[in-house]
Symmetry: C2
Subunit: 198 residues, 2 copies
């Protein structure tokens, strides 16, 4: 596992790539992040509580999921290294989350709390641009996922996920991936069989 200072240095890179700012500013920000370690299956966030950590993941994979009325869990997102992980609605509105965030593998990262993040936004106004860029990126990704969900077949979406996010297939069970794609595990199994036969 990387040392805390290595993790902070990764974060500085990440911040300055997302929005160019003085290195000193990015470093000051990174200093405020504290280490977070999660075992496989551990929760970063549980349904009903308020998302209060803004986590920069450096190692491992996580997923977000919601329970639907029938009691099935629906994967709403996957998260990997070099990504910011939190539940936006709960975090910014300060309301209980309807989603869970759970480690698929052992995870390492560094985080800050909601109040520290706001303090940073306040003392370093330029840093808000980073916050905005994370929001915009997430929003854009979700928009394109939405479009592909309503226009493409499950097979096409599966192939696209395989191409853009191959790592996930090594860490998440297919049942989980199926729900992310909006289909049942049975259907995904058949789609894979169909593809394999080609």
């Amino acid at each position: 596992m990387n040392s805390l200072s290595q993790e902070r240095s990764e974060l500085v890179d990440f911040i300055t790539k997302a929005y160019p700012m003085p290195l000193k500013m990015a470093s000051d920000v990174a200093e405020r992040f504290y280490p977070v370690r999660l075992g496989k299956g551990d929760f970063l966030l549980k349904e009903g509580s308020i998302s209060n950590e803004y986590l920069f993941l450096t190692e491992g994979y996580m997923r977000s999921f919601a329970m639907n009325p029938d009691g099935n869990d629906i994967t709403t997102g996957f998260h990997g290294p070099q990504q910011v992980v939190f539940e936006i609605t709960s975090f910014f509105h300060r309301i209980p989350s309807r989603e869970n965030i759970q480690a698929l593998t052992p995870c390492a990262g560094i985080a800050i709390t909601y109040s520290t993040l706001n303090e940073l936004f306040h003392t370093l106004p330029e840093f808000r641009e980073f916050g905005r860029s994370i929001l915009v990126r997430g929003f854009s990704n979700l928009k394109s996922r939405m479009l592909s969900t309503i226009t493409e077949t499950a097979e096409a979406r599966y192939l696209q996920l395989l191409q853009t996010n191959p790592d996930i297939f090594q860490h998440a069970p297919l049942r989980t991936i199926a729900s992310y794609l909006g289909i049942t595990d049975t259907s995904l199994s058949r789609i894979r069989k169909e593809i394999a036969g080609k």
Copy 2:
């Protein structure tokens, strides 16, 4: 049609509800918005150009849509009075939009440009909180739409849209609503027939 000053006053209300801030600040912001009028069918944004207006719609209805490879247009969103209309990816990344935004009815609103918005963010740091709240709201809505798209039947999504956004049915053709729901106009027609028979 409302006067410009009425529109600005609506915007002040909207801003202070989205994020509490001094009335003076909200008024100063609203002063910078200029009127925009669109006839039915007019475009606020055309695919390939950069979304450069941050529009607060006061009257009328619009839709966003993307062309899919087969040449069909897919509605990605509907917009009504008291909503902010722009294409986030293009606007903030300053890249050509893959979406169009078009007036479904005659529309009135007030707008600012990208550069004026940034200028306001710079001179009134607190106003950024409003910008953030608009992003978070849009993101949250899209997340819940995404979840319902992958978990619910087309009929359930139709009924939900009918309940949460009934106005749209008076202004948008069903074909347009069908693509928003991720189904064909044929299927929507059958779903409506099915519901009517109950």
